[in-house]
């Protein structure tokens, strides 16, 4: 958290002036009991009405000055806090964007989103509160004591004893209850988990007739939650009564001690009143401080979480060399004995992968989940760095390319069909910023998306909701394909991105891509044997290793894993089916 405070630097003036004005206001507030004492000691005994009025006007004046000071303070505090969070938000966003896939995998995007939103808001509130109040309360507590000492040293001794005792009680109760609140949260999480689980698994729970057991489990969790809540409630309910007793007993002692002092003539009645009101003020401020500390600890926790994101360094450096001059070769993509291990993983996800993809080739990649298919294609745009070996594009190591040049060559259709809020047109522009209407239509045609886009009332301008949730899975996939082909990439990667399409559409799509550009190199990742069957080269992955490489027929003859996959999808029992093959 402390490191985040560097962001307050550009608001140094505000962050100093804010608390300063707040202290000024507090000082004026501390003067009030003295004025009242004057009224009692001077005005009343002398029956001096003009003096009393003068003193009252003085109090109003102090009030006005206090108001002005405090408004100024609030403004500076708000400005600093809001500015602080604005800068953090900007920098954190930029920082996240600089992270590579490895870091994104490790942190998880949902965590990053919470950091960017609610955590930053919490920190903003925290900074605002601190600038406004954090100095004020302790200042009044100690200010009141100092004032007491100026009035009478002997009576002020009561303050010197009471304040530490009160602090111990207030902070002691907080120290005990904060961990308990964490326990409450943990129990609540459990209740939430059961609720969520029972919604997601409603069918299974009912199919197994487990409703009564689930209710019992839920009741149990609820009972445990209530148990801690009541317990922590009892403890925090102590705070007010105990402090109340302490302060009032202190007042009792104060009355006696100051009574003695008045008796010997060291103190006046008005001063006694002033001392008593200082004592009451202390109680109010200490309670405020305790509440403040609770919100402050929350803000610190959020701040630390944000800072921990800042501390993650991007694991991949972009080359600083200028744009690579494009050698023209036919070997578009080459993998030279590539091995790859995900950060933090124990085992290699890919080992010893070696192949060359020629211009115009279609490369099929097949294998089970976790066999490394996606990992392999993710190495081509250098989303991850290889741990061993090298990936070359046109004979140049991908690490030598600036990101933009490299990724410009590649059209990627990710496994998860992600679209963005905006129109269909906006989404296609992700692929090519200045795409013309014609190019868009052409891309939609290739992606087999033209029909359904045209059927929409607004065509290309139809709205896409967040995550494309107003489109079906198949429609989303086709739009992501259009988004990738619109940039006319040299290398097109379809990462299992036709899974929601039926076989016929899938086939038409492949045909259209090939017709679009005979020179394009296509990587087809799929679980379906039918999809990759006619590729020029099929890479069969099994547990990160290349179990086979070749054409469909070659692999059927030589590769056991391929045969296993193929025949699990196309049973060979009745060889009659193969006669259905039109090709």
């Amino acid at each position: 958290m402390i490191k985040l405070l560097r962001y307050l630097k550009s608001y140094r003036k505000e962050s100093i002036l804010g608390p300063l004005f707040k202290l000024l206001e507090a000082s004026f507030e501390l003067l009030i009991p003295l004025v009242v004492a004057q009224i009692i000691d001077v005005g009343i005994p002398n029956e001096d009405v003009p003096y009393i009025i003068k003193m009252c006007l003085l109090m109003v004046l102090l009030g006005i000055i206090g108001l002005v000071c405090s408004l100024t303070a609030q403004y500076f505090a708000a400005k600093a806090a809001v500015g602080f969070s604005t800068v953090i938000r900007r920098d954190l966003f930029a920082h996240i964007q600089s992270l590579s896939y490895s870091e994104l995998d490790q942190i998880g995007t949902s965590t990053l989103m919470t950091r960017m939103t609610s955590d930053i808001n919490q920190v903003q509130n925290g900074v605002n509160l601190v600038l406004r109040l954090f100095l004020r309360s302790p200042f009044i507590v100690f200010g009141a004591m100092v004032m007491a000492f100026t009035i009478d040293i002997k009576s002020a001794g009561v303050f010197a004893v009471t304040i530490p005792a009160l602090s111990v009680v207030v902070f002691g109760i907080m120290l005990v209850s904060i961990p308990l609140y964490r326990k409450v949260q943990a129990r609540l999480d459990r209740v939430m988990q059961i609720t969520r689980e029972n919604l997601a698994g409603a069918r299974v729970v009912r199919a197994f007739n487990k409703e009564a057991d689930e209710i019992a489990a839920y009741d149990q969790a609820g009972e445990e939650l209530k148990g801690v809540q009541v317990f922590v409630g009892k403890i925090s309910a102590l705070l007010n009564p105990v402090t109340y007793v302490m302060v009032n007993l202190a007042i009792v002692v104060l009355i006696w001690v100051s009574g003695v002092q008045v008796d010997v003539g060291n103190l006046s009645q008005g001063e006694v009143v002033a001392l008593i009101s200082y004592m009451s003020q202390i109680l109010v401020e200490l309670i405020k401080l305790a509440n403040l500390i609770i919100s402050f600890t929350k803000a610190i926790a959020c701040g630390n979480r944000i800072q921990s994101i800042f501390e993650i360094q991007p694991g991949m450096k972009e080359t600083e060399k200028p744009v690579v001059k494009m050698p023209v070769t036919d070997s578009v993509v080459e993998f030279h004995d590539v091995s790859f291990t995900y950060q933090g993983a124990k085992e290699e996800s890919l080992s010893g992968i070696h192949f060359t993809a020629k211009r115009g080739d279609t490369i099929g990649i097949i294998g089970g989940t976790g066999s490394g298919k996606s990992s392999l294609v993710n190495l081509i745009p250098r989303f991850y760095d290889v741990t061993d070996g090298e990936v070359l594009i046109h004979g140049v190591n991908v690490k030598e390319y600036p990101f933009e040049q490299l990724r410009d060559k590649i059209g990627l259709v990710p496994q998860k069909a992600v679209l963005f809020q905006g129109s269909i047109r906006d989404n296609l522009r992700w692929g090519k910023k200045d795409a013309t209407e014609e190019e868009m239509n052409r891309a939609l045609e290739i992606a087999q998306a033209k029909d359904f886009v045209d059927a929409k009332e607004n065509g290309l301008d139809s709205e896409v909701l967040q995550n494309g949730k107003n489109l079906s899975g198949g429609q989303r996939q086709r739009l992501t394909i259009a988004r990738a082909v619109i940039k006319k990439p040299e290398i097109l990667i379809l990462d299992d991105s036709a899974s929601a399409l039926d076989y016929a559409t899938d086939a038409r799509l492949r045909k259209a891509i090939r017709e679009m550009d005979p020179d394009i190199t296509v990587f087809l990742v799929s679980q379906r044997a039918a999809t990759i069957q006619y590729a020029d080269q099929i890479l069969v992955l099994d547990d990160g290793e290349l179990a086979g490489i070749g054409t469909h027929q070659q692999l059927l003859d030589t590769c056991e894993v391929y045969r296993e996959i193929y025949y699990s999808q196309f049973p060979r029992k009745e060889s009659g089916h193969e006669s259905n093959e039109p090709v």
Binding site: M113, M116, L199
Partner: protein, 583 residues
């Protein structure tokens, strides 16, 4: 927060209904609140008397002082005790009521028609049971402790002041509303600023959701700079509207404090004049000044509490809405327990639709003889799960009847119907708990041997053994630490353990590695042996071996027959089948 149909009066009545059960605690709480308030107000008067015994040099009544000190001590101790008891009662009532509401809501979840669960976002339902109930509990607690004592304090102070000196009381009563008015005025003015702030926050959150949530796509398309630009634009707007909202809302406190200081001054002035005229003692003037401070505080608190209470009521009404949803139709009174199941299932002129205006299944007739296999095929999203919904009676048919062993399923208990089906769905739901707990989900009394035997039968044993703690490995929520295929195997084992006479199976499509897939297939085959089975089929082998194939499209069953019959028809099935082989 979504508005609900419940008016706040109705909601309040319902809340009171829940509280009613704890009337004794409530009565106790009210009694002790009254005691607390009266004693709290009495203490300043005693202190005032104390001050009056300390008049000046040599004029201090130490004997009288002793008595007063004793009185104050007793009063203070009693106050503290009463306050603590009151707080504890409030805690207990609140947490108990909250538990009651949550329990009721959860019971509703287990009893409500699946239609409701299917049609509502689970996140929303969870937040009603967790977040809304929490908000409600905060509001209720605050309402009890602050609203209640606040109102009593105001009334009590008025009475005490009127009894001591009506003139001063009048001054206080006249000026105090100004503070309320100021607070109200500021709140109104800032409302629109807050709305703008939360709108802009919403905008930035949704941008962050998209860009950070899909950061990989952003990187793949080199969209980082555009994303940054968009963030900066919104961030800038957020900064300026946030500053205004923060600042203007933070002027409430200083402003009301200023009004309070005016009240204080007025009391001092009128009080001092009264002391001179002899109608008031100096000590009682101190009491008055004390009151002036106390009196305005609850006013400020109450306005905060009122907003909190409004939020709490809105939250409560959302939970009540859930609780009051109709439960699923209970089992018929004369419902019989299904005992002798031969495995025959008849669908007799079945009509069903999810929405009245969209007929889905019309006049579906099907006769399944014991031990037959029924394959349901069709493109993704064609509504294959509808049939499962009807068979398991997750939904009721609109017209016609489904019969098991000759009995209409509406005439038998749900429990006995579902006991006779074994169900493996595509969404592999597991509950958080150990592997063993998950396997014996439907049969908690199963012995270790039975569990292992089932796991061996479903080919899950070998991977379970390799898990860190074998059968005691804890599965995190939704099986996050298992692969999709492993989860599926566990779901199969769960059914394998009790192996009912009829089966409903959903073959998972993609994302299962080949080896596991073959094991799953074997497990399925073993289960189906001799049992009536309904299979949502994706594999050709399953389809070919089925006794009846139901071909679905757009939610309707359009063809029905054996593989050969359907091919001969040259209809949709023929098309579907052939497209798998086309390029």
């Amino acid at each position: 927060m979504k508005a609900t149909n419940l008016s706040s009066a109705q909601t309040i009545r319902k809340v009171l209904g829940y509280i009613k059960r704890y009337w004794f605690l409530l009565a106790l709480s009210i009694f002790f609140a009254a005691v607390t308030v009266i004693l709290t107000l009495y203490a300043p008067i005693l202190i005032g008397y104390g001050v009056d015994k300390i008049v000046g040099k040599g004029n201090v009544d130490f004997d009288g002082l002793k008595g007063i000190m004793l009185q104050i001590s007793v009063v203070v101790a009693l106050t503290a005790a009463a306050q603590w008891i009151m707080n504890t009662c409030n805690n207990r009532i609140t947490f108990q009521v909250v538990k009651d509401i949550r329990d009721k809501a959860f019971r509703k979840l287990e009893r409500m028609p699946l239609k409701y669960i299917d049609q509502h976002q689970h996140g929303d339902l969870v937040s009603r049971i967790i977040a809304d109930v929490d908000q409600f509990s905060d509001g209720l607690l605050m309402g009890f402790t602050q609203f209640f004592t606040g109102v009593m304090t105001i009334l009590g102070t008025l009475v005490f002041m009127l009894v001591i000196d009506y003139k001063i009381a009048l001054v206080v009563v006249l000026i105090t509303p100004v503070s309320l008015f100021v607070a109200n005025f500021i709140a109104k003015k800032t409302f629109s600023m807050f709305r703008l702030q939360s709108q802009t926050r919403g905008e930035i959150t949704s941008l962050i959701d998209e860009m950070i949530g899909n950061q990989k796509v952003v990187k793949a398309f080199g969209y980082e700079d555009d994303a940054m630009e968009r963030l900066n634009e919104i961030n800038g707007r957020l900064q300026s509207c946030s500053l205004r909202a923060t600042f203007f809302s933070s002027i409430t406190n200083p402003s009301t404090r200023f009004v309070n200081s005016l009240v204080y001054t007025a009391v001092a002035l009128v009080g001092a004049l009264s002391v001179m005229s002899g109608s008031l003692s100096v000590g009682l003037l101190t009491s008055f000044l004390n009151y002036a401070n106390q009196y305005t505080k609850p006013f400020n608190e109450i306005s905060g509490v009122v907003t909190e209470l409004q939020n709490a009521l809105a939250s409560a009404s959302r939970v009540f809405e859930l609780i009051e949803e109709p439960s699923e139709t209970p089992d018929a009174e004369h419902a019989t327990v299904l005992e002798e199941v031969d495995g025959s299932v008849t669908l007799d002129q079945v009509y069903f639709s999810y929405r009245q205006d969209r007929p889905l299944i019309e006049n579906l007739n099907l006769l399944v003889r014991p031990g037959q296999r029924v394959a349901i095929v069709g493109p993704t999203g064609c509504g294959k799960s509808t049939v499962i919904n009807l068979l398991m009676r997750f939904y009721d048919v609109d017209k016609g009847a489904i019969k098991v062993a000759g009995l209409d399923i509406r005439e038998i208990t749900r429990k006995s119907l579902r006991e006779n089906y074994g169900m493996v769905l595509q969404e592999t739901w597991l509950k958080s708990g150990t592997v063993r707990e998950n396997i014996s989900f439907g049969k908690p009394e199963a012995t270790e041997e039975e569990v292992i035997a089932a796991a061996k039968a479903s080919h899950a044993h070998s991977f379970i053994k390799r898990l860190p703690n074998g059968y005691d490995t804890v599965i995190t929520e939704d099986g996050g630490n298992l692969s999709q295929g492993q989860k599926q195997l566990l779901c199969i084992t769960r059914v394998m353990l009790s192996l009912p006479p009829m089966l409903i199976l959903d073959e998972a499509t993609s994302s299962i590695d080949t080896r596991t897939e073959i094991q799953i297939q074997k497990a399925f085959a073993k289960m189906m042996n001799g049992r009536t089975s309904f299979i949502v089929a994706h594999r050709l082998s399953t389809i070919q071996e089925a006794d009846v194939i139901l071909v679905m499209r757009d939610g309707k069953i359009i063809e029905q027959g054996t593989h050969d019959q359907l091919l001969a028809q040259q209809g949709f099935y023929y098309e579907l089948y052939n497209s798998q082989f086309a390029v």
